[in-house]
Symmetry: C2
């Protein structure tokens, strides 16, 4: 870059440095509000029914007391609701509101100098010091009359009566009795003097998603491989027949790669070979053919009726369906003829295919987000989502969103959520950290993460801490995947069954949201296309596979057990409570999660080493768990049913990967010992 | 607080959730800009001549290259200047601009997808892979012709010529030579295609203060006690005669408590007794009498001519003068009669005096910042500053700013700085941390800190790290005071001379800004008014004192030495470079500071224990100091002139508080050893 410092004579904005307020009598300051993403530029995320805890630094000059309320409303409502805020320490205040309704809530804070509270507070000190005078009570009477003027009806009358009684000549004890009556405080506080209230400088937004945005187990499967007959292309009927298998494993979401017609131009063959052979089905991500594009169904899979039956079957089984939306086209896609202007042209008039020099992807045309017809393009892309929303789909896994413009996603997702507030988007952006976070801020409900490549205790602890704590957790919901059709990690390429178990248990317990690409995962598929590659050999991306689901080494029963544990334990349905605990052996990872109210607690210990037995002392914060350090307790293993008697903070754990790689523990008082009987407890 | 959740039917702002941009083709994202205070709500602070380093996360969708420029201007200028930004790692970019001029600068960032750079980058990879085709060069030729259309004159002609030459039929080598010519890149880059540039979402502001805002040693003295004749009230002539004593100690600023007429109503006597006796002079903070208020001079001190001579004398000696501005009045202040409406009335018609029940301060009336005439009050208070600014004063120590409204300060300081950009304000707010920080954000140039009460290594390290690192250092400039007329700490009440030395050395080396209240400090005044109090016995706040400046135990020579070291070493003129280093003994504190360019480095080791010799191993990051770990070097003590030969990271230090409490070290290569000769270095 050879730009020099140059003076550019553009018109600068006026130097608006006037800081004269409309009313200088608003003395309270509100700052440091949480939750807040990038100074309020983006909404924070919650799920329906959650309690939103709002905190802020609130203070005024001098020594006056202040009061503060949280103001909030769903964007569909016009009136604000209010709930009081309470002081914590160090000028920090907190308040709460619940968000039962999907969509967008706004909140702000009003805070004001509370002269009544100042007076009460000072009077108490005067009474203590026996220095209260009739004049002090007259000040109170004035404040009460001001409150009466703001009140109406009986309250007003009663306040005036009380004020008057403070003015009557009487012994100081009589005035004291009137002034310190809690009923008086309550009555005045109902009519606060908010003329000089300060409002927070920016209204903040909370986007409320369905609970499924924060908790769910996904199962990805290729419809093409669902036929029970080897070599035959799977259909939606086959997919439907496969659903009980998925439901029995306890999954919540079944996710299908693109179901649209597949292009034939430059179609890729098996194992991504550049020349397809007759019968090769091509990549489902090479979308579009003469028969249609993103709003069509590949004829081999069936018709819309078949799709509807598949959706119905999934609903019967309690499974949500996620579709893959990949905004790119094959050269055969109808868009290419109908909307040439949406693609970048080369000087020879041909359309620029996807390319990462020197690699060429001639079977894929990307959209040109700098087309002069960008708005038309945006609207068409949005209409693809609307089309499938109208066919009952509510979850979309978005392919490579980071290669489409950020502004498009913010607009598209915001618009879609306005009409379909129950829609969810999973961002498939395996790219640089700030790009992944930006996409989450723009509106994606969930995001793939670097989890596939985080294997050691240090890697898992540091990364999961980052994503489960503020500020990241306010906008980013991790979805942990041990594998995907694009990612067969080195850890899994060992083919070690324990390695698969470890990665599965990590994903399913560290992540309230997780997923696997099956049946490759539960059937321990571990062969890469070539050494050093993370691509699967004979990948379903390019060919039909036939899977023997009943193989005895399948992980399906372990998966079913763990998904059941996830459903039974609220603790595993959030990431926010994740806390790592020390173990004396770096090959053992220990962490806990708890439900929002703390009533459900789960402690997980996982052996990260698939080859050897590992043992160590785990160190648990029993005080935070409300477990008595001085008495034995039971660590009940939800995976195996075993029960271990533990005592104190530090306890021994040993995990042999050839038997089990993890404990999922519930801690319980040792109920059946005689030491629990009353006469033992109270000597 | 008994507020219930209630529905309040106020008019809510419209739910403006449309995120459709003006032009969707602006694909670059700019976020995470630093420096930035509270999302741009407040300016960041710098001093004249500094280089402002701006960083931001800048990225776009996909794989295109991007370019970014920093745009900046002084608010008095209309044209923006630009300097290029450079990528660091992890999508972070950096740029710089200098701020030679006092006042307010604005800056923002423009960033855009750089198709030329993308093309060049991709072409290089194609050439490497030998896959470049004539078509690739035609794309480049088009981009060059677009640049030519933005250019003019010779550049345009030359670019068109080069573009044409790429279109001519020729061997690929010829095209390559033209395309990779650096002169071509430079020419195209001079005319970037910024049609779809993204601008940062908010212009940010830098307030540029005089260098004195960031570096200065203050000396506070009571004019009343400057007479050489015991018992006589000091005058400005006496103050002037005292100045050489202050200048010889190397101070930069002499600060006087209020110089205004002192009220007689409820005047406080010696040691803050409620009844003044005849001859008692009262507190200078009880401002205002029949002879005048905040714009008058106490007659005992002299007249305006005397004040002018004092100012002139200070200027001759290179001393800046700071005045104390305390916005409160005695009952005798002219404001009380002329502007009754600026004060709070009690029901009996009397004016409410200052009070913190059960304590009463009948000699002080606070202003009522909720007066309906708030704007008139604000303007009058601002005019007090303007009055003294017009009398040549440029530094104000503001008394208790946290008991005046925050909005007033933001307005007042911003207004004053517009007309007097060289003015400085020191905030005397010994109060809660968020209040102190808010005042700094609102515009105070410097702030007193909790330093007086930070004694241990842990306390000093944690607090000074907080204030010298972002985000705090962007808006808060600490001024470290070991004592003030209100603060005689327990540490100093021991009367131990070493304790005074320790506190002085800590203040003067940890703090680029620091001050002492003298002569009480250098004369080791240590008697509290009563046990458990931090008030001085026989405080100058209430009476005239006579000081024996020539006492042999005075710290004046140590102070002079240290102030000279501060002036000689840029390293001690900033707080930003402060870094603490491990010592094997918690009674020894070790830290370093360096100049902005790194050429000046100072390492300080202080014994925090005034009673015992302490020794330990200090551990220095020699790699950061560019000192060879494998060769001996000299630690030269600027305080004593001693030179220690050290080697490696860890070296022994011993400090006997009865001899010296600290080392102020410069590290130098061991120049005079034969091992420094060339033939030793290159075996």
């Amino acid at each position: 870059m050879a730009l020099k410092q140059t003076a550019i004579q553009t018109e600068a904005r006026p130097a608006n440095t006037s800081t004269l307020p409309v009313d200088g009598r608003c003395r309270v300051v509100i700052e440091g509000i949480t939750p807040q993403v990038d100074g309020g530029r983006f909404p924070a995320k919650r799920t329906a029914g959650e309690v939103v805890r709002v905190e802020a630094d609130i203070f005024t000059d001098g020594h006056d007391s202040i009061s503060a309320v949280l103001r909030y409303r769903h964007e569909d409502m016009h009136g604000w609701q209010e709930s009081p805020m309470q002081p914590l320490v160090n000028d920090r205040w907190a308040g709460e509101f619940t968000v039962p309704q999907l969509g967008r809530y706004r909140f702000t804070i009003h805070a004001w100098v509370d002269h009544w509270e100042t007076w009460r507070h000072d009077l108490a000190k005067r009474i203590d010091a026996n220095t209260d005078t009739p004049l002090d009570y007259l000040i109170g009477a004035n404040l009460m009359e001001e409150a009466a003027a703001r009140a109406a009806g009986e309250d007003a009358d009663w306040l005036r009566k009380q004020a008057h009684s403070l003015r009557v000549e009487q012994p100081i004890e009589g005035r004291r009795a009137i002034a310190i009556d809690p009923a008086l405080d309550e009555a005045v506080t109902r009519y606060p003097d908010r003329r000089f209230a300060t409002e927070a400088e920016r209204e903040l937004v909370i986007v409320v998603d369905p609970v499924r945005a924060a908790f769910g187990a996904w199962y990805e499967m290729f419809p093409r491989s669902t036929s029970v007959q080897p070599g035959r292309h799977g259909t939606f009927a086959d997919c439907g027949a496969r659903l009980p298998y998925v439901a029995e494993m306890g999954f919540d979401v079944v996710y299908l790669p693109p179901i649209h017609p597949i292009g034939t131009a430059f179609r890729k063959g098996k194992n991504n070979s550049v020349n397809a052979e007759p019968g090769d089905t091509g990549s489902p991500w090479a979308i579009g053919a003469a028969e249609g594009g993103h709003k069509a169904i590949y004829s081999e899979l069936g018709a819309f009726d078949d799709f509807r039956r598949f959706m119905d079957r999934a609903a019967e089984l309690g499974l949500d369906v996620a579709l893959d939306i990949a905004f790119q086209v094959s050269p055969d896609h109808p868009y290419v003829k109908e909307h040439e202007e949406w693609f970048r042209k080369r000087p020879d008039g041909s359309i620029q295919y996807a390319e990462n020099p020197p690699k060429k992807y001639q079977d894929i045309y990307p959209f040109d987000f700098e087309t002069p017809d960008w708005l038309e393009l945006w609207q068409e892309l949005k209409s693809v989502f609307v089309f499938w929303l109208e066919h009952g789909v509510r979850i979309f896994r978005v392919d490579n969103p980071h290669t489409k413009s950020f502004a498009f996603w913010e607009w598209c997702i915001t618009e879609l959520k306005r009409d379909f507030p129950d829609v969810l988007f999973l961002s498939e952006a395996f790219t640089r950290p700030k790009v992944m976070y930006r996409l989450a801020k723009l509106g994606f409900s969930q995001s793939y993460t670097y989890f596939p490549w985080r294997n050691t205790k240090y890697e898992l602890t540091s990364y999961l801490t980052e994503t489960s704590q503020p500020p990241v957790r306010e906008f980013f919901r991790a979805s942990q995947w041990p594998n995907t059709p694009d990612i067969l990690t080195a850890f899994l390429q060992t083919g070690n069954r324990a390695a698969f178990m470890i990665r599965f248990l990590l994903a399913a317990t560290l992540g309230a949201n997780y997923g696997i690409y099956g049946p490759a995962f539960e059937l321990l598929e571990s062969r890469p296309v070539r050494p050093g590659s993370e691509e699967y050999l004979d990948s379903e991306k390019y060919q039909i596979r036939h899977w023997d689901l009943d193989r005895p080494d399948s992980l399906r029963h372990l998966i079913a057990t763990v998904n059941q544990i996830r459903h039974d334990n609220d603790a595993l349905q959030n990431d926010w409570s994740l806390a790592f605990h020390p173990v004396s052996n770096d090959q053992l990872l220990c962490f806990s999660k708890h439900s929002h109210d703390g009533s459900n607690l789960v402690v997980v210990v996982i052996n990260l080493d698939p080859n050897s037995t590992q043992a160590g002392m785990v160190d648990l914060p029993l005080d935070r768990f409300a477990i008595d350090e001085d008495r034995p307790y039971v660590a009940h293993d939800l995976l195996t049913g075993a029960a271990y008697t533990w005592s104190g903070r530090r306890n021994y754990v040993e995990l042999n990967p050839f038997r089990t790689v993890a404990h999922i523990l519930q801690l319980q008082p040792h109920l059946r010992a005689e030491s629990n009987l009353d006469y033992f407890l109270k000597p």
